[in-house]
């Protein structure tokens, strides 16, 4: 009979040196690729007007830099290129958010609705910064520190996803009511990620965390189906423009992506060898404690 504790055994393969790093970098390369596809679809509406070409130039560079780091993990040049590229990604994300915000605004006082809801999606470009930071942490640290940082970033990623869904669904005035589902599951994920990032969790907390991620995975898939159905509604056939400019196809899958990243974040880290002074302390403490026992 399959026991839950046995499920942890396959996870141990990730404790092999650098395997988790490589896995995370692979997922980041995929993320940058999908971001490129998503932005290309969205910006094609404006014929890539002026600065809209920036993320499309950046994405292939980021993919190459990430793959370079993945295949040449022990090379210094790959590390330098990777770091520069990722910090560039952070800048692209921040500048993109600024452009979307200011592009939606006029110079006059106007409803916030117009600035953050009714126009370019303001929560979308920050994904570049999120993915870049996640990649930097994936590559830059190991052990419990990495686990904690990754979970924190996934938590903030969920925050971005919740805001994106919030602004997007606000256009519909949250009708039908199931458009608040991603808000609920996303906020659950935010708190779960941040909770776990600060703790060394017991098995119950981990299972609850995984359940929340599974819920988000399901919500993402459900959202994908709803978005597709919405894009097909009212047409006699497939109108491709609707998939480009109406219900964003890849939007709900962001929740699936973050759920996956959350799951990968808690993969057991390789155990770091104990330093001599640590061994001494442990030995001493055992000796001192034994008589008491």
């Amino acid at each position: 009979m399959l026991k839950i504790k046995n499920l942890r055994t396959p996870m141990l393969i990730f404790s092999r040196k650098n395997l988790k790093t490589k896995l995370l970098l692979s997922i980041m390369a995929l993320n940058f690729s999908l971001l490129g596809v998503d932005v290309a679809m969205a910006h094609s509406q404006n014929n890539f007007f002026r600065w809209e070409i920036i993320p499309l130039i950046y994405c292939p560079l980021a993919v190459l830099a990430t793959l370079g780091r993945l295949f040449f993990l022990d090379k210094l040049w790959s590390k330098r290129i990777f770091k520069v590229s990722m910090w560039l990604g952070v800048a692209v994300g921040v500048i993109g958010t600024f452009f979307h915000l200011t592009g939606n605004a006029s110079s006059h006082w106007e409803p916030l609705y117009k600035i953050v809801v009714d126009g370019s999606p303001v929560a979308a470009p920050i994904a570049f910064a999120g993915v870049s930071l996640f990649a930097l942490v994936s590559e830059g640290t190991v052990g419990l520190e990495r686990r904690s940082k990754l979970l924190t970033l996934v938590g903030y990623g969920f925050l971005g996803a919740v805001l994106a869904a919030f602004f997007d669904h606000a256009r519909l005035n949250f009708e039908p009511v199931y458009t608040i589902i991603p808000l609920i599951t996303g906020i659950m994920a935010i708190f779960s990620c941040l909770w776990l990032a600060k703790r060394s969790p017991d098995r119950g907390e981990e299972y609850f965390f995984l359940a929340v991620l599974a819920l988000n995975l399901f919500a993402g898939l459900l959202g994908f189906v709803f978005h597709v159905l919405g894009d097909l509604a009212g047409t006699q056939g497939i109108v491709f423009a609707r998939f480009l400019y109406r219900n964003p196809l890849l939007g709900p899958l962001l929740f699936c992506n973050l759920a996956l990243l959350g799951g990968l974040s808690i993969i057991p880290e390789p155990v770091e060898p104990m330093l001599e002074w640590q061994k001494e302390i442990l030995k001493k403490s055992k000796e001192e404690l034994l008589p008491i026992r």
């Binding site: 509406q45 404006n46 014929n47 007007f49 002026r50 600065w51 452009f99 915000l101 200011t102 592009g103 939606n104 605004a105 006029s106 110079s107 006059h108 006082w109 106007e110 409803p111 916030l112 609705y113 600035i115 953050v116 809801v117 126009g119 370019s120 919740v162 919030f166 602004f167 606000a170 949250f174 608040i180 808000l183 609920i184 906020i187 659950m188 935010i190 708190f191 779960s192 909770w195 703790r199 969790p201 017991d202 119950g204 907390e205 609850f208 965390f209 929340v212 509604a233 009212g234 047409t235 006699q236 056939g237 109108v239 423009a241 609707r242 480009l244 400019y245 109406r246």
Partner: protein
């Protein structure tokens, strides 16, 4: 369950409830349509204040704040289009170019300026009756070069300008002063510009704002398509389509991205839906005749070049809501009315020709009551019956159309008999 797990579940649950409530409250009171207002430095402000464009804003924010506000409210502004992107002269605009505070500008941009970004739309518009042909109706061949007459299909089968190069008979009747304030106001949509282009995009898209929603609303088309000779807006309002629109305007998604429209956005068609918009699987066009089988405006309605193909495109629009049988039935019914209106016009024309041949009336137009009767027989009643038939305006088919034609024919025959008696 461990106490720590219970704490986690409690915090996540409570946090989620509070978070969702906060988001919904912020929608209600902060970012929703009725929420707070904010002011941000804008992309357009950031870019517009560069170089010469800064000078434009410095003055026009004081002198003509309305147009500056319209511009800032536009998608153009949001996408960083600057004043001089539209107002700088392009090739061939030497005659239009003026020096304005040491900056070379075109005060009133033409479709050639718009074509810098909207080439396809301008090309389609230029090929439509809204462009050169519209202007020809009021001015005749005056001002057109031979190449332009040929290019815009304004020559008849013998190679001569249509209508012998003369403007519409009404232009001559009312005189140029009245015509400039009437005919030319609407027909200016196709006015010849000094750079050789025809038309004025701002007739449908509000200048400096260029709102797509405005062009999609029937009221915009109705600014010109109204009155006794082409009452399309009245016919639309009478039709089931127009009635639905009037009763459910708020359900229409006028701001929907171009190319994505379906019945979800437009539960009933507006003028643009059928004649221009990309709808369902049909591509959009700025050539308003591209989906029409018939020329319904001339003396005698006639089938357009590619008329059958155009009709298939129109059917594809109709089929988003109606069955094939229903569409065929409506179109067949409309064709019968078109044929009937043509028949009535031919009767009137034959009567008039016979009187001319007998020398009972002169060769010049609109000199006798009988000629006015005939003019209105085709120009008013004939068109109304045809437009009414294709757009579902029952009252215009009958009372303003075929009935009036029949009445006019009787009156014409009576007038003819009177004339014959006198001679």
């Amino acid at each position: 369950m461990q106490p720590s797990t219970r704490r986690m579940v409690a915090i996540v649950g409570l946090g989620t409830i509070v978070g969702v409530i906060m988001l919904l409250l912020s929608y209600r009171y902060v970012i929703g349509p009725k929420g707070v207002k904010a002011s941000l430095p804008t992309l357009s402000a950031v870019t517009v204040v560069q170089g010469k464009n800064k000078s434009c804003l410095d003055c026009h924010e004081k002198k003509t704040p309305g147009i500056v506000h319209q511009f800032f409210d536009s998608k153009h502004a949001g996408r960083g289009v600057q004043c001089l992107d539209c107002h700088k002269p392009v090739e061939g605009q030497e005659k239009l170019t003026k020096e304005h505070y040491q900056v070379a500008i075109v005060a009133k941009p033409t479709p050639n300026n718009c074509a810098q970004c909207h080439e396809k739309e301008v090309k389609e518009f230029t090929a439509s009756n809204h462009a050169a042909r519209s202007w020809y109706a009021v001015t005749g061949a005056k001002g057109f070069s031979q190449e332009e007459l040929a290019k815009y299909h304004l020559l008849d089968a013998t190679g001569q300008p249509l209508n012998k190069g003369k403007p519409n008979v009404i232009y001559t009747l009312i005189g140029k002063d009245a015509a400039s304030q009437s005919c030319q106001v609407c027909h200016g949509i196709g006015k010849k510009n000094e750079d050789g282009s025809f038309g004025d995009c701002t007739k449908c898209h509000l200048r400096h704002n260029f709102d797509i929603a405005q062009a999609r609303k029937p009221e915009t088309c109705g600014q010109c398509h109204l009155g006794p000779d082409h009452p399309q807006i009245e016919i639309y309002n009478e039709s089931a389509h127009g009635t639905f629109y009037q009763a459910n305007k708020e359900k229409f998604n006028m701001e929907a991205p171009a190319g994505t429209l379906t019945v979800k956005d437009f539960p009933a068609p507006t003028c643009a839906t059928c004649h221009m918009s990309a709808f369902g699987n049909v591509q959009g066009t700025h050539n308003v005749g591209e989906r029409l089988k018939w020329y319904l405006a001339p003396e005698l309605a006639k089938v357009r070049q590619n008329g059958e193909q155009n009709r298939e495109t129109m059917k594809a629009i109709c089929l988003n809501c109606h069955t094939q049988n229903f569409v065929e039935e409506q179109m067949t019914g409309a064709e019968k009315v078109i044929a009937l209106s043509n028949e009535n016009v031919e009767k009137g024309k034959a009567l008039l020709d016979s009187l001319r041949q007998a020398g009972l009336i002169g060769q010049g137009p609109l000199k006798t009551p009988l000629e006015f009767l005939y003019f209105e027989l085709w120009h008013h009643e004939g068109r109304r019956a045809r437009f009414g038939a294709v757009m579902g305006g029952a009252d215009f088919v009958n009372w303003h159309g075929i009935y009036e034609q029949k009445k006019a024919l009787v009156e014409m025959e009576a007038e003819a008999k009177e004339l014959e008696k006198k001679h």
